[in-house]
Subunit: 314 residues, 2 copies
């Protein structure tokens, strides 16, 4: 029996590509980004995408595959996928939630601690020999006793808040509606949240609904002693306003895993000493990436077996 | 009325030295480390030390001050102070517990996350432009779901365990006796603890009782996939055994804030890529250092007012 045909976007680790190739006839999305560079027969054969990456996936690509029935996304965020168009054309979309929640929340906390305690600068201080030659490292800032504003209380925001509660912080959160929480304070207004917060943790989904919600006004309200951690999507923050606030000291610092134009980020970031920069690695552990790949393949398998999808989006 | 005379060791920030000078006639411990370099009258006048630092404070120094009644230590650890000798000679010793617990636990967690997710290397990756030119950063390792072995369940060990519990880890601990915990597993044997642990957090006090307890055998038991965080004292770890294990890959990594010979640490550390090095900055925040100085002065004040000491050690 011949294997089902799928289209793979970007590259996969061996632990994913080997089982994928065992189960499917895997075609690679053309480097040209033009699906018409694939032969017509192949485009007709392909019934599912193993999608990955942050390039836009819209009608222009989906239309080239008349028998496409599933876009199985590798990742929890699907803001680059035109889900509305997929739904309207009977194409199912799946993602890989839950399996990466812990890692994403962990890195957000690690980024906050690394920023507040300047772990990177202190590491350089030791490795360069400055500790021995020049003495103690400059004092940094504490996080206990501070007020945290968590922006978005989905799976990841909740995991971030739960962790930060154990650090003796006071948790406030912004969400579309008040949630059932262990005593956290709901704020329906982001400027209000930023005003009370010393630390702002951005944990909303990407997409049009959240684009630019961390506006110049919100950043201004966070204030010169405030810090921000963004491990959600670059699009949620007005990046120009953030850069200006960092450059002028209108906020104390920021820790960023995501940016407007990844990986070609604005070169002004690298000139700043009050930012911690990470290369979009929130879910970047061996353990979690293996689980993400497994879940992506479980969705592919369910689709080809005509069973209910494991983690459907639409 | 003339001010009481005190002897100050090492330097203090203005927020400490100004109020100290308002209340006391402050003499500085000689740069020679020889107390006899102070005039006899000054040595007779001094009734209390504002002690700081990690040089040994024993009989040789205390004996030079016949009217010494208090050693007020700035810091929670007092392993460098000969408390037995002080007690035998009617000299009280105080420290600054509690006020630094949160910061020390926070940095321990920050170090664990920075090590496990290689936050320092990933930061360099972005700042050097490698992300744009060479692509995604290598995958790192998760901490959720792992078994943590906390060595010592005093104030700081407890704070570390409480935080790590919110990271969905399984907490085991070593202590002199079993404690009342929220379901953490007691291990009376350090080799046993290291055998079950993926992550070892060292949080015991320094001093002869804990010297070298993280032995070659314990490190061996932690194993090639294990990591260790030490924010306690360098003396608790067999540093030569740790260096060898790191150099040979017999453990996966270590994050260290303390060392045998601070700040002139073994140059072999800086050659390793599987260690995160911090310059003994666990309590190094503005907020906490201010509270430590206040508590040290509260003890001095209580002593000179013949009131009960706030945080006595002996």
């Amino acid at each position: 029996m011949s294997k089902p045909h799928i289209l793979s976007f970007e590259s996969y680790d061996d632990w994913d590509s080997v089982p994928m190739a065992e189960a499917y006839d895997v075609h690679q999305f053309p480097a040209s980004s033009n699906p018409m560079d694939l032969p017509e027969k192949v485009r007709n054969d392909i019934k599912a995408f193993a999608f990955k990456g942050h390039a836009h996936l819209g009608a222009d690509i989906m239309d080239a595959f008349p028998n496409l029935g599933l876009v199985a996304n590798y990742g929890v965020g699907f803001d680059t996928i035109d889900v509305a168009y997929a739904s309207a054309n009977g194409i199912a979309v799946t993602n890989t939630p839950d399996v990466l929640t812990d890692d994403v929340a962990d890195l957000a906390i690690g980024m906050l601690l690394a920023l507040s305690r300047d772990i990177v600068g202190a590491s350089d201080w030791v490795r360069s020999g400055n500790w021995a030659s020049s003495g103690a490292y400059p004092l940094q800032r504490t996080i206990s006793g501070k007020t945290v504003g968590v922006v978005g209380l989905g799976r990841i925001g909740h995991a971030i808040a739960t962790r930060l509660q154990s650090f003796n912080t006071d948790i406030h959160y912004f969400a579309r509606s008040e949630k059932d929480t262990p005593g956290w304070t709901y704020q329906s207004d982001l400027v209000e949240l930023a005003t009370v917060a010393d630390i702002m943790m951005v944990a909303v989904s990407g997409g049009p609904e959240t684009a630019g919600i961390i506006s110049a006004e919100v950043i201004q309200a966070l204030g010169p002693d405030g810090v921000m951690v963004n491990s959600a999507r670059g699009s949620t923050v007005d990046e120009e306003a953030l850069l200006q606030a960092l450059e002028t000291g209108n906020i104390r610092g920021a820790a960023l895993d995501v940016y407007d134009n990844e990986p070609n980020i604005d070169p002004r970031f690298a000139k700043l000493s009050n930012v911690l920069l990470q290369p979009h690695q929130s879910s970047g552990t061996i353990e979690t990436r293996q689980r993400m790949g497994e879940l992506q393949r479980q969705n592919l398998q369910a689709f080809f077996a005509n069973k209910p999808l494991v983690t459907p989006v639409n």
